[in-house]
Symmetry: C3
Subunit: 258 residues, 3 copies
Amino acid sequence: MSTRLTYHGAASYEIVTPTHTILVDPFLSGNPLAPCGPDDLRPPDLILVSHAAADHYGDAAVVARRSGAAVVCDSAVRAKLIDDGVDPRRITQTTWGIVVGVAGLTIRPVECHHWSMATLSDGSTVVGNPLAFVFETEPGVRIYHYGDTCIFDMRLIGELYRPTVGLLGCTVPRELLHLIDGPGTYLSGEMDPDEAARAAEMLGLELAVACHYLTPNEDVARFLELVARHDTSGKRRAVAPLVGQTLVVEPGNHWIEG
Amino acid sequence: MSTRLTYHGAASYEIVTPTHTILVDPFLSGNPLAPCGPDDLRPPDLILVSHAAADHYGDAAVVARRSGAAVVCDSAVRAKLIDDGVDPRRITQTTWGIVVGVAGLTIRPVECHHWSMATLSDGSTVVGNPLAFVFETEPGVRIYHYGDTCIFDMRLIGELYRPTVGLLGCTVPRELLHLIDGPGTYLSGEMDPDEAARAAEMLGLELAVACHYLTPNEDVARFLELVARHDTSGKRRAVAPLVGQTLVVEPGNHWIEG
Amino acid sequence: MSTRLTYHGAASYEIVTPTHTILVDPFLSGNPLAPCGPDDLRPPDLILVSHAAADHYGDAAVVARRSGAAVVCDSAVRAKLIDDGVDPRRITQTTWGIVVGVAGLTIRPVECHHWSMATLSDGSTVVGNPLAFVFETEPGVRIYHYGDTCIFDMRLIGELYRPTVGLLGCTVPRELLHLIDGPGTYLSGEMDPDEAARAAEMLGLELAVACHYLTPNEDVARFLELVARHDTSGKRRAVAPLVGQTLVVEPGNHWIEG
């Protein structure tokens, strides 16, 4: 058995488990390096959306409408999905700690220290609370998706839910920075390479996966170096797939295809 | 002297101290197992509302209007109370850390890692920040109400404010799950039994009280077991009152009536 | 070289570095003890606004419009600034962890456990996420502005970003308490003196600066005592400038002028 994570860039993954297909933060239409469009995806069993930011919410509504897949999300994403024509009966709203069983899967939302806001078609704004996720895809493969959190003391999450694979933002997609208004320049993502490598240690990961880029940059390279430096287990691996590549994970092993 | 906590189910308690009556998260009208209606309560001196979710806000407005009691809450609950006809002069809004003196009581709001949102009568939404509470009801009895938090590192709260009695969610009211939209099933509350038992340890409680159920279920039974397993003090007690029962607390002692 | 911090009261400072002028949480017009009005300030290079509360947002829009200075803030402050006529091209919105380069300065927003909400001119509310800030003003002077946070485990912030000077709320501006609606009395600020002194220790500060008052009160005096009590470094200094005074900071040294 193995779990296949195809990277779309930003925080978007299609995760194919031995039994299910899970789509996380599907950012394709607005993604200049997207390996496919939302209509090219196999219909997922489940869509997870961490928060309502455009580069995470992405094509969630399009895919949900077309596939009828269940969605797990916070209240802001739920409001935006409904505004975008998704049947509320397909959406399960949850919050930190409330584990949900859906589509035969068990999804644990954990704290994400970020922010979730959407603007609806009538101009009103909705605010929820952003989610990170932990879920087991097969025995011995437990995936943590960081959902754009900044660093905080994640040791409890590591101790209690023992993720083995962590998808960890360590930079910011440079190709999207022109979309940011204002006079300033974003010099880091919500976590920088050192913070993300420390997160890997706090979570006790076996495999730390760089996340939140389109083209790997020097932050990503630095993350791959720093994971080892912060590793007290002596066996943590680190990887940074290219957009379009598939990271294949088995307990204790991984490789990249594509 | 003693402090009497009558459980209404969910996170609702009437807490009668030697000098005052405090109503917390009064969920009665929507509560299929409520031991009484909001009009049957003795008029409280103070109402605490942790956040704006329906099963916590409950009958706060009804009781506040009828009794004229002061309310301590966040900004979302305040907006909803005003929308529901409560005089703003009876409402004290606070936030994490700002201790308030009201009705002769001292109430400390502490971090609650959850989410507080209400929809007002005009369809607009308001978002605040959810509260947990610590307050002393008599010398040596300091009550922590968890306000629907998920687990986080609560050791600072334990060290600084030394609660002796903790009302800790450890499950989800199963009788209310049909109200949850969507395809998923809630498999836990914001804390599960193990997390709640760990919270009791981090808070350094003398008495850990199961909370967030209507009928005690296997989660509650498991919590009662796990409190001892996570207890490094060797003297932590655990209890799970039935709805309608009264937990009587004195320093170092407790029993159940009813 | 030195860095000059002129205190306006509440959490408002004009910070003059060897190369730039930074205005933080400029609360002047509504401040009964303000040493000057917003039009008397030298035009800043940068305005930092921690969150949208009136005593922190203050005159940010007035100063931004007049000076054309860049503003770094969260989404709620951004929405309010735009509503108040500030050009969006002058505003850089960020969130926890996303370091921004702006006006030749590097600003790190860090977690602030508080709440940021504004009401716009059309009556709608916007909610963001509140910011604390760390920034270096000269080699060896790294300033932490607390942005109204309550206490939490700040050791990661101390370890990772090593602030040397911390502006730490330890009380509440008593002169403004009449503006608080409702039956209760605020007995503390978001941090009390003991909490703020513990924050100084967790952050590893060299210089702990009392903040969030207009006239120094007994909380401020208590903070100055408690900083030493919680200091494991043996060399932490503490100071409480009067409104209108200037705290001058060099690496390893400080004095007050005015």
